[in-house]
């Protein structure tokens, strides 16, 4: 998982979504998630997926980095679906839900700097948890780089090779052992730095105000509309079931139109 790309996009991007308030984005994310949870209609879930894809395309977000991350849970969901679903329909629904929810989460993270996301989480969690979240996310970058360096060093010495699984496993384990000791030392250094900067048991993150209130309103209204459609299809299914293709067709049209306008505006 290349989370450095994620962070670059979240901090350096300038789309409407980047300009919206983190609070609005979190609310919209929760509403989209609720839409996925209440939906049991494959067409509706696919419509939600295509709407999210249209948003990614319209906002010119780095889809090449986002889509593999969003598709990753599909592998595990497919295993679960294969193990438990009775037919292709149920299996497809499980996989579609996994990918749609992941795409919603990834879109949030690609458009919002992580301290802003965790600032909201911090408000509802104990101080220890909020601080640990911030430190964890920051440390992932450092440790991922360090592990990549260690693995590269071992690979250069022919320590990792597909034809020698035992030697490869030993080399990977040694790299992880070294990484563990490095992590412990890093934790101590982090604490020293924090104390020097006046850390007293609570990292405070100021929430960024919205740079585009209009984007906030559109975002939340759009997410509410999605939840509305999902809920209506869920509760009035007997009347609407014959029209299940409509949300999907509309979402596909929207995606097509997005690509068309994107091409013209290039």
């Amino acid at each position: 998982m290349d989370i450095a790309v994620l962070d670059r996009s979240a901090v350096g991007g300038n789309s409407h979504l980047h300009r919206a308030a983190p609070r609005s984005k979190l609310l919209a994310f929760a509403l989209v998630l609720a839409s996925i949870v209440v939906s049991t209609n494959l067409f509706v879930v696919l419509a939600l997926l295509f709407v999210l894809l249209a948003v990614v395309a319209a906002e010119r977000l780095p889809a090449r980095s986002m889509l593999p991350l969003a598709a990753y849970p599909a592998v595990f969901a497919a295993v679960f679906a294969f193990a438990s679903a009775p037919d292709a329909l149920a299996a497809a629904l499980i996989v579609a839900k996994a990918v749609t929810a992941a795409l919603a989460a990834v879109t949030l993270m690609f458009t919002t700097p992580y301290p802003q996301v965790f600032a909201a989480v911090q408000r509802v969690t104990p101080g220890l948890v909020g601080d640990a979240l911030l430190m964890t996310y920051r440390a992932i970058f450092i440790l991922a780089d360090k592990l990549a360096d260690l693995t590269r060093a071992i690979r250069l010495r022919a320590g990792i090779a597909g034809s020698h699984p035992i030697r490869s496993a030993k080399a990977t384990t040694r790299a992880l052992g070294g990484l563990l000791l490095y992590s412990v030392d890093l934790a101590q250094r982090e604490y020293d730095v924090l104390v020097l900067r006046g850390y007293s048991g609570r990292l405070k993150v100021a929430e960024h105000p919205s740079r585009s209130p209009a984007a906030d309103r559109v975002l939340v209204a759009g997410a509410l509309a999605l939840l509305g459609v999902a809920t209506v299809w869920r509760t009035c299914w007997t009347s609407l079931i014959d029209y299940s293709w409509m949300p999907l067709a509309l979402a596909l049209l929207g995606l097509g139109a997005t690509f068309l306008f994107r091409g013209r505006n290039r």
Partner: protein, 265 residues
């Protein structure tokens, strides 16, 4: 099996909401007991060990496509209170990266927490029983037993949820008319004739049996790999920095300045 790879909206509401409530209670309990300067000193350690678990999940053992978790290592290094916090933090970050659902963060936290706590307790007990020279054996056994227990927990969650071959469609939604979590999907999209569905579903037990068979067939490969990796790492740490393992996470650490390793001033 540090987390269940089940997406949002598949498990019934009562189950994932229950998972959230129990794990939130445990996290609050662990946090409220972990106060004071000593624990504050360990906050970066919680963050960094949690990050290590997350990074190790992205590191595959070549050529077998298996991601290790290091949950037992994290449990041994952090101890029970901080492990609970770490389990929650790991699952929140995983969910935000799209790996695992947001609604199942609670259940996933309970799974990871169980792995860390059980791993920690078994490791401690076995080291006491076998002696400090048998760290690798102790950690290997602790890891295998822990993973067997958590894999069984996973199968238990699926069994309790009723999400099996027959009921996979009735997932994640509640019926506002009777609040029985019933689904209209039994004749839902199937009514359109898609995928020639609509036939009666198979008996629930068949789906659960198939799921359990797959998990228990593939599981041992993962348990073995995880046990070997955990044993190697903890054995290495026991040799190089034994205080990390034997003195516990809140033991006061003596700071040694560079160049003053032998106490020479």
């Amino acid at each position: 099996m540090s987390h269940i790879h089940i997406p949002d909206g598949v498990l019934p509401v009562w189950l994932w909401l229950g998972g959230w409530i129990i794990s939130a209670g445990l996290v609050w309990f662990a946090s409220s007991r972990s106060r004071g300067a000593d624990v504050r000193r360990k906050v970066p350690l919680v963050g960094i060990i949690s990050a290590l678990v997350l990074v190790s999940m992205s590191s595959e053992i070549v050529p077998i496509a298996y991601h290790i978790n290091l949950t037992v290592v994290a449990g041994v290094l952090l101890g029970p209170q901080l492990a609970i916090v770490s389990a929650f933090v790991v699952q929140v970050v995983l969910a935000l990266l799209g790996h695992g659902g947001v609604t199942v963060i609670g259940l996933n936290t309970l799974m990871t927490m169980t792995e860390m706590l059980l791993g920690w307790a078994l490791f401690r007990g076995l080291v006491r029983l076998l002696g400090r020279t048998r760290v690798r054996t102790a950690s290997g056994i602790a890891t295998v037993v822990t993973l067997v227990v958590t894999t069984t927990l996973l199968v238990g969650v699926i069994a309790v949820s009723g999400v099996t071959g027959a009921t996979a469609r009735e997932t994640g939604a509640l019926d506002p008319q009777n609040l029985t979590f019933a689904s209209p999907f039994s004749s839902g999209i199937v009514g359109v004739g898609l995928f020639s569905g609509g036939e009666p579903a198979t008996a629930p037990a068949v789906g659960l049996r198939r799921f359990a068979a797959i998990v228990y067939t593939l599981g041992p490969i993962g348990w073995l790999i995880e046990a070997l990796v955990t044993a190697a790492i903890l054995g290495y740490v026991a040799r190089v920095r034994p205080s990390l393992i034997f003195e516990g996470p809140l033991a006061p650490t003596e700071r040694v300045l560079p160049g003053d390793e032998h106490g020479v001033h």
